[in-house]
Amino acid sequence: MPAYVALTCTADVDWSAPEQTDELAGYREFGQAAAAIIRGGAALYPTATATTVRVRGGKGEVLASDGPHDETKEAITGFYLLECADLDEAVAAAAGLPAAWNGAVEVRPVIPFPPGEPTR
């Protein structure tokens, strides 16, 4: 069965802040409604906590810089790993995420590497 990652792209929020309780309730509802197809996922701390890593030059110099990879109005604030029959099912599920209402959800198919290959 194909797997998809649903990236929630919304305003940069701190899910751990108390004022996000209402917003999180929507995600909790989604979690229950889509329990059968959710294989994993996480909410992320805001982009202020992000560190972007790049390696440049022949010496393999590690450049770790403060902030997200892309400074945009909307940020990736979380993700779900979904296992669905096809794209239509994944899109229907993603439409149930609050992020789809006040931002966007990017649905991307996951490459089905054999067990033990790059993903692990």
Binding site: P2, A85, D86, L87, D88, P109
Partner: protein, 203 residues
């Protein structure tokens, strides 16, 4: 569920059910997850049987561009598991424009082929008119559909007329008696024309 003429479609369920196989597949190809430019191309290539070169000419892009566009679409269909599923009634409107474009372009290619020996391809014309009729039945209140069918019938009706004219221009076997008056007038009269132009001496 039965279709009721008076029923409210929102209450009684979708009366729009695509019954024809080819039209269903055209709707299926016009999946909104595909790039708009790719939907029409995929349908023309896969369902209407046009070659990649023909699809490219029909959509006014180079063959190389069309090859890339089709292969990207195929790749997305495969990798993202875009389903080949008949869309539900409520999904039809968002696919309607692309389907209309497919039917129109199919007709166009049949009416005035972009390549090949025969400038008219009756199979494509007939197929397009058939699809346009079905589309009209499916969405009777959609102005685009009504206009499309009218256009196709109007131009399709001229097809035999056109063929006769082409045959006449080729100096083929059709005699003036077989042709509509308008065509007979246009039919070149080689000997007479040549005389008129002073190429042959009279007698």
């Amino acid at each position: 569920m039965t279709d009721t003429a008076q029923g409210d479609p929102l209450v009684d369920g979708p009366p729009q059910v695509v019954r024809d196989d080819q039209l269903r597949l055209v709707f299926t190809c016009c999946h909104p997850a595909l790039a708009p430019a790719a939907r029409v191309a995929v349908a023309l290539r896969v369902l209407c049987g046009l070659s990649t070169a023909e699809v490219a000419r029909v959509l006014l892009v180079s063959e190389a561009t069309m090859t890339r566009r089709l292969s990207r679409a195929r790749q997305k269909i495969g990798r993202a598991a875009v389903p080949c599923r008949v869309p539900a009634g409520h999904e039809l409107p968002e696919r309607h424009d692309a389907v209309t474009a497919v039917v129109y372009l199919l007709f166009n290619e049949g009416y005035s082929a972009t390549g090949g020996v025969d400038p008219i391809r009756p199979g494509l014309v007939d197929g397009a008119v058939r699809l346009a009729r079905l589309l009209r039945e499916l969405t009777p209140d959609e102005p685009t559909t009504i206009g499309l069918l009218a256009l196709l019938l109007q131009n399709g009706g001229q097809r035999e007329h056109l063929r006769a004219r082409l045959a006449a221009l080729d100096g083929a076997t059709a005699g003036p008696a077989d042709l509509p008056a308008e065509v007979a007038v246009d039919r070149p009269r080689p000997a007479g024309n040549r005389r008129e132009c002073g190429l042959d001496s009279p007698g």
